[in-house]
């Protein structure tokens, strides 16, 4: 940060990076993934909780042996949690990390740290 060269004030620098095409793309990609995904798993979780809370007969339907619908839906919550985790990691590694890295290098390079 102690560079002797004249530099734009820091706030301008951040605003510039913020407005850059790369950063806007990164921001959009992140939000386009995490917001819908959060809505999805919250709705799915709440549906499950409401079913377990209020639809006892439905959840008590036996499917295989002593395993009922409630247990299957509960285990599916585990499955969906693992799947969403996997999807996010893949998405972040492929679509987010490369841009984030290039923007970061640009900022820190310009920072003369």
């Amino acid at each position: 940060m102690n560079s002797t060269e004249p530099q734009p004030p820091e706030a301008d620098m951040w605003a510039q990076v913020h407005a850059s095409e790369d950063f806007q793309r990164l921001r959009k990609r992140l939000r386009n993934f995490v917001f819908p995904m959060t809505a999805l798993f919250l709705v799915w979780y709440l549906t499950y909780v409401l079913l377990a809370d209020y639809a006892h007969d439905f959840m008590s339907i036996k499917v295989v042996g002593n395993i009922n619908l409630g247990l299957i839906l509960g285990l599916l919550q585990f499955v969906s949690t693992f799947v969403i985790t996997g999807l996010y990691v893949r998405y972040a590694n492929r679509k987010l990390d490369p841009i984030a890295e290039s923007v970061r290098n640009e900022v820190e390079g310009g920072d003369k740290q």
């Binding site: 950063f23 377990a52 002593n66 985790t85 923007v103």
Partner: protein
Amino acid sequence: MSTLAQGSVEGGNPLVNIGIFTLFVIITLVIVFRASRNTKTASDYYAAGRSFSGPQNGTAIAGDYLSAASFLGIAGAIAVYGYDGFLYSIGFLVAWLVALLLVAELLRNTGKFTMGDVLAFRMRQRPVRAAAATSTLAVSFFYLLAQMAGAGGLVSLLLGVEGDVGQSIVIGVVGIVMIIYVLVGGMKGTTWVQIIKAGLLIAGTAVMTVWVLGKYGLNLSELLGSASEAAGGNDALLNPGERYGESGTTQLDFLSLGIALVLGTAGLPHVLMRFYTVPTSKEARRSVVWAISWIGLFYLFTLVLGYGAAALVGTETINNAPGGENAAAPLLALELGGPVLLGFIAAVAFATILAVVAGLTITASASFAHDVYANVIKKGNVDSKTTEVKVARITACVIGAVAIIGGILAKEQNVAFLVALAFAVAASANLPTILYSLFWKRFNTRGALWSIYGGLTTTIVLIVFSPAVSGSDSAMIPGADFSWFPLSNPGLVSIPVSFLLGIIGTLSSKEHLEEKHKEMEVRSLTGAGAEKATTH
């Protein structure tokens, strides 16, 4: 309790239990002393020099998260209430998606040590840090008290230590060992304790799970059938509603709990602080992935263990044991592997309390030293970094002392609601501010203050006037009745209130911080200028 002349679990050998636990304490103390050699700066003390890898930190998170309440409590709840016990574990697990998708990486990139760092990034430092520290201390205190009070019950259950004096001494010993971990080891030592404990816990429960399933030819359906038969054969244990299906109020109570669980985790200060112990946001992401894997696996094990205990030990025996439903997992261990396995499981349960309490203490002391002392009282002009660490160490001792005294006073109390309260405060006071701060550019100081203090106050007021404190048989003060709020879990009301207060507070204030938010957003998404790992 006086009818239980035996005190401890019948057939267990307290000497074996104490021996295995002592071995754990000695091994971890050696590791903590070794890990402490490089602890010099604030970054070393609070964040272990940011030198842990994602898998290490993820395992430590699992160690921090899987408290005695989730180990003994959930297995016991499944054994006694069946399906309704299983519901807890699902909320506890799904909650990690909030941390993964919305919080972990962005927080790691923006802050240094505490939640206050993230808020202070663009708001007026002193008020928001004071607010963040208040809610951090409140959550830590409730959580700490629940763990320490649980330790008292566990003592009589597993070690055969009876009487007030005996139990108080054991709580004192647990507290002192914990203070040594935190003082000497800082975050690095504490993290290693969590990692070891998580390993032991998961290994122990894995062995028991395979053992139980082996008895039923690896057939889950047969295990369920046998559990249901042992409980009376009417499928009550397999269907939902055994615990929360009683009335409209209990159903609403469950919904409220479910919401607090899923939104509370990502606001728990001791979980948030763990994200600072890794060098990059990518490692923070890997941490959560590892944590989710361990925690998910563990809850699948508890499902088998709970039904296994119902089938092999019997619900009635569990209810009549000292410690009630908490005894399910230890009794199952005894049934399967005799006194040695019981000793191992008992020691793991103690290690669990010890590790969780240590994690909470370091978080609370960091929040006080870093947010309150260094930035509110000293206005950011602390003479040297070592002073801040010194204050953190003194605070840790004070918190440890409070935990010991609180644990001794609360040991006869019904404190199960304290954990729910901690989650409700975390979900109402912490999560809205963190999310707004990271994602909403208009958010400002007044919004943060209203949301934190409003959420905290609403939660506590609703709890005080709930049936958990007065007006029911299982209340904290059973004799009195000043309750008017019907639910034991305030989340259903307090979480929306807090989100709303954040919006109203923000819009009613003229403070605009959009420019600063641009910088914050660039930093949080890219990791530019984030705190790096220190190398020794």
